[in-house]
Structure formats: structure tokens, C-alpha cells
Assembly symmetry: C2
Homo-oligomer: 343 residues x 2
């Protein structure tokens, strides 16, 4: 296959956003693919995972991963199909998951460490599931809850961003471990989904109901584990309801990522002192050597019908800038996925 | 002994302070002691421990201990001498440590659970030491550092309020465990003391030097354990320098106790996420069944001359209101003790 006839469209970081990313923070480039040499592959992008963490990668400064450079193709995990291969590792037609970037094609060494491509089986699960519970968000929720949260049967687990990719996993894993699970989500529709479809015990609509009252009502024995995806006022309010020796997992702070001034720190953090409680961060990569354990258990539950996930799929690479913003406006309903090409 | 001829002066909480406690927040009462009955004792107050935590007890609302009620004698730990006894537990002349309250005498059952009096030996150590390293501040520093902080030899431990009662203990215990120890204190004199007298590796004068620069200079390998007694800007700055898997012990937040608006939460708390670090509260009472272990080890070091403590002793019960404020103004130099009577 002569790939040099194929045009690759790419979203590059043009400027570091101040607050919410603007269209002018992106530069769209189109370039012909280059020929591949021994050991290399070409992957056509099918699905891109849009995640809150991407906002952090656009900032300068030290984090758990290096920032995307100005002019560089925006980092994104995704699923693609191998359309050309000079590597024994992947055959043409294979579906692969890895760091594709926001572009229609990826070209490089099959064993490229940064992209870390691995094969996924589209006959076992629909491909977008590999960006959800069977991918990074799922691993984040699974290991964050179990390893950092250490939930015990009978305890009360609260999770914010409950209908999002990580939240869906956290709540359902906690249910499987015998916990009472209370979600926090924005809007009645999302709340109904996590209760009726995912089996949470309750869900508080923070946009329309008083969160503190909701927590008191639905967590009559207090909060033992809180999995925080949002930060801000919600974190502060949950802190008022924690139990002795509570565990708070800091996974993200989507409410704070586009702040133009400083982040709002948790004013009620002294609840940690009063309750001898713990607040601890989680980064999914630390559990890479055990992803298979988590995937296996969740895949089993999926097969049994006791673990469901929902994706919110938007079509079109050109929709990338506006679709990313949906995350920060709470407009996505389920794991947000950008579909770039038909399977 | 006819104790009914003795007048007992008491400081009662007259009003819940708004911000820094004012003289009018106290009511001074004088009443004759009552006769004691079987099982009771009279304790004459010698020394009272003045601690930052007292400010919290003056507020309404749920905490790790019930608030002092309006009209109630202010809660305080202290050391006194038994001057009358109808209990086999204590003899006249015994020195005892317990919850005396801000008053010149305490009357009640020898086995009163709230006061929890126990004998201390003035021949083994000067009595004020039992309010310092051999008392609650010492136990707080010892168990907070070792149990929550889990320091390993070679790691860097930073402690704020370094010349205070808890800070002195934390730093010296950490040195004994083979750590690099960097203090944070207000003023050159306090910094010189913790380095030259207590053997800290360095101390940063936050009032006169740039804390962040100081941390970078004195913690070239980053911060593994941070023992926080102060909160506010200092906590936020230390968070910028923590290492992967760092442990932050939340012991207090003296900078925030007199805030009239909300507490300033740690805006840099997402450093916990980036570094998979942990922030955890400590309340000393949780370790009550092991106080003897800590006291024994520190007493041994004291005897060997490798563990020193300093008290700042102010004389006169009538000085209580103004002396308490010294804590919040950083004016005390060493463990703050109010001496109420000559030994």
C-alpha cells in the first residue's frame, strides 16, 4: 500500500490556553503520510478518547507527564486500525489501542514506547469500550478505588462525575465489593442513569439539589470513601460528611482545570485532622503491570451483565475543539469519545 | 485540711470568639472550694499547657472533642499537686498531670475520666517537661511522625512550627531515625535554636526569607515527609516541593484558627495527585495505649543528652488571656506554659 498518497489531518497545540481552550489555541495541519521502514506501522484513527486530563497536558510545568509542546500534535489515547505494517508485531487489519494523538493517522515504530500500542479484540467488546471501562478510565477507577480507597463491604462510597468514564467504573466496582454507592452528577438524566442502569444506590443532582442535604439523606452512616473527580465546592461539601478514617481519592479536579486564577483548595481540609482521614492522589500508570487483572474482572462482570458502560460518541475529527469543551461544561453523558473514521 | 477556706479562681468561656479571642470572651469567677467526699481529690494547679488546639475547643460544632460550653471553665491540660485526698489512688503531695482546666484548683473524683489524672515523677524530669516532650505535644509529634509519616532513614522531613512543642519533638525524632530534617520557624533566633541546640540540619525563617527558595536549597532531594502545624501559605508552598509518594501529616493549622472568614484550603492540593502523595490527619488520643512507648524512648534520648526541649514559661493565672494569644502571634519560643503557682 502506498501511504504517501494519504493526507493526515492533525490538531496541534498553537498556544497554551488561558482558561477554557479557544479555537485559536489549535492549529490544524494537513500533511501527506511518509513511507514506512522496517519495524514501522501506519494506524488509521477510529476513535479518540477525550479526557479531562488533556487540559492539564496543555499547561506548562511539572506534572506526572510532560506537557504537550507548542506546535506538537495534541496527545490523545485512541483506537485505530493498522493499514500498513513492516513489523511482525502487528498485521494489517489489527485493531490497536495506544497514544495516537489528535490526528487521522499515526506513523511510527510498532514498539514505540510513548504510544504503547497493544492489540484489542473487537469481537470481545465494541471498540469504544476499550477507551472506557476496559481502558484508562476503567483502570483509573478500578485501581484508584480498590488500592487507594480500600473499600470494605458495608461502607459508603461516594463518587463525583458519577456518569463519566471513571465514575461509572468506580460505582459499579464498589457495588460489586458490597458497598453502598452514592453518585454525584449534574442533571436528573445522568442521575437516573447511574441509579437505574448502573445500579448505584442513589445519585445526587448537584445542579438542582442541595448537595449537603443529599449526602445527609443518602449517606445516613457518613462517607467512608470519596472518589473525587471534580474538586472545588463538591469536594469541600463532601469533606463535611466524612467518617473517622475516611479515604479520599484525588483523581482529578475538572471544576478547576480552566481556572484563570488559582485553584480553589479544599477549605474544609481540616476535616482530615478531626477524622484522622486521608486524602491521596492516584495516577493510573502506576498500576500498568496489573491492568490485565482489572480488565479481566470487569470483562467478566460485563459478560454476566452486572457491569455496564455508556459512551457518548461524537463523529468527526473537525469537531475536536468543541467536543473537548463538552467535558468541562458537563455536557457529555458517559465516556466522551470522538469517532474519526468508520470502523 | 479544710479546703473550703481556699478560693479558686477560674477562667470561664463567656463568649465564642470571632477571630482572635478578646478579653471579653472570658469571665473570671472566684469561688470557695467544696469539701471532698470519698474517692475525691483536690489538685492545686502548678502549670497549664497552652496549646493551639485550645482555640478550636472554643468554637461551636463537631470536632474530635466536644466544644467548651459557654460558662464552663476553659479546658486545659496541666500539672498540679494533690493537696487533699480521700482516694487511695493519689496521696497528698503527689504531682499529677491531667485535664485541670484554667483554674487555680481542681476538685473531683480521682478517677474522673475526662480529666484523666496520672502521677508524674518530678525527680525524673522537671515538671514542665511533662507538658512538652513527655506530654501531649511530644506524643503528637512522636506518633504523628512515625505512624502517619512513616519516615525512612535518608528521607527528608520538613516540619513547620519547628521551635514549638510539637515541632521540637518531630525534628529530633526524625533525626534519631536517620532523616534529613529541615525546620520552618519565624525569626532567626528560633531558627538558630532548632539548628544549634536541637540538631536540625537546617531551618528556614519564613518571616524573613523566601520559603520556596529555602526549601529548594535545603531539600535538594525534595520533601518526603511534611509535618504541618500551621496550614495556610506555608502548607501551600511546601506542596510545591513534595516527592513522589510523599506523606503530609496534618496536625494543625495555627495560621487559620482565628480566621473570621473561611479557612484557606491548600490551593496546591493537586500536588497530591501528580505525586501520588498522601495527606492525613492525626489526633494524639488515638495512640493513648502506646504513650508509654513514646515516653520511654524519648526519656532515654533525653538522659543520653541527644534530645532537648525548651519551654517558654509565663507566670500568673491572670496572664492567661494575653499569654494564649502569644501562640497565634508566634511570640512564644518553645512550648508555652503558664505557671500558676510555685512548686
Amino acid at each position: 500500500m502506498n501511504v504517501t498518497a494519504i493526507q493526515n489531518q492533525q490538531y496541534r497545540l498553537a498556544a497554551r490556553p488561558f482558561g477554557m481552550p479557544k479555537p485559536s489555541d489549535w492549529q490544524v495541519t494537513v500533511e501527506a503520510l511518509r513511507d514506512i521502514t522496517d519495524g514501522e506501522i501506519v494506524v488509521q484513527t477510529l476513535y479518540l478518547s477525550l479526557d479531562p486530563a488533556m487540559r492539564g497536558w496543555m499547561n506548562e510545568g511539572k506534572s506526572y507527564i510532560r506537557p504537550v509542546a507548542i506546535g506538537e500534535v495534541m496527545r490523545a489515547g485512541g483506537i485505530g486500525r493498522v493499514i500498513a505494517s513492516k513489523s511482525p508485531k502487528f498485521a494489517v487489519g489489527d485493531s490497536v489501542c495506544g497514544g495516537i494523538g489528535v490526528q487521522s493517522y499515526w506513523v511510527g515504530a510498532a514498539d514505540d514506547k510513548t504510544s504503547g500500542f497493544y492489540k484489542v479484540d473487537s469481537t470481545l467488546a465494541p471498540l469504544p469500550k476499550y477507551l472506557n471501562a476496559l481502558g484508562m478510565p476503567g483502570m483509573t477507577g478500578y485501581f484508584g478505588l480498590l488500592e487507594v480507597g480500600q473499600p470494605k463491604a458495608g461502607e459508603t462510597v461516594v463518587v463525583s462525575g458519577a456518569s463519566g468514564a471513571v465514575g461509572q467504573t468506580v460505582g459499579q466496582v464498589a457495588k460489586h465489593k458490597g458497598c453502598r454507592v452514592v453518585g454525584i452528577a449534574g442533571g436528573r438524566e445522568k442521575c437516573d442513569f447511574v441509579v437505574n442502569e448502573l445500579g448505584f444506590d442513589a445519585c445526587i443532582d448537584y445542579k438542582n439539589d442541595a448537595l449537603k442535604d443529599g449526602l445527609k439523606q443518602h449517606c445516613p452512616n457518613g462517607v467512608d470513601v470519596y472518589f473525587d473527580n471534580v474538586g472545588g465546592e463538591i469536594l469541600d461539601t463532601v469533606l463535611t460528611q466524612i467518617n473517622l478514617k475516611a479515604r479520599i481519592i484525588i483523581c482529578g479536579a475538572i471544576s478547576q482545570y480552566n481556572n484563570t486564577s488559582t485553584v480553589k483548595g479544599p477549605a474544609n481540609y481540616l476535616a482530615l485532622l478531626v477524622n484522622r482521614a486521608r486524602m491521596e492522589g492516584i495516577v493510573v500508570f502506576d498500576y500498568a503491570d496489573r491492568y490485565q487483572v482489572g480488565m479481566k474482572e470487569m470483562a467478566k462482570w460485563m459478560k454476566e451483565g452486572s457491569f455496564k458502560t455508556r459512551e457518548d460518541i461524537v463523529f468527526g475529527l473537525e469537531k475536536f475543539p468543541e467536543t473537548l469543551l463538552m467535558l468541562f461544561e458537563g455536557k457529555n453523558f458517559g465516556k466522551l469519545v470522538l469517532q474519526v473514521a468508520q470502523e
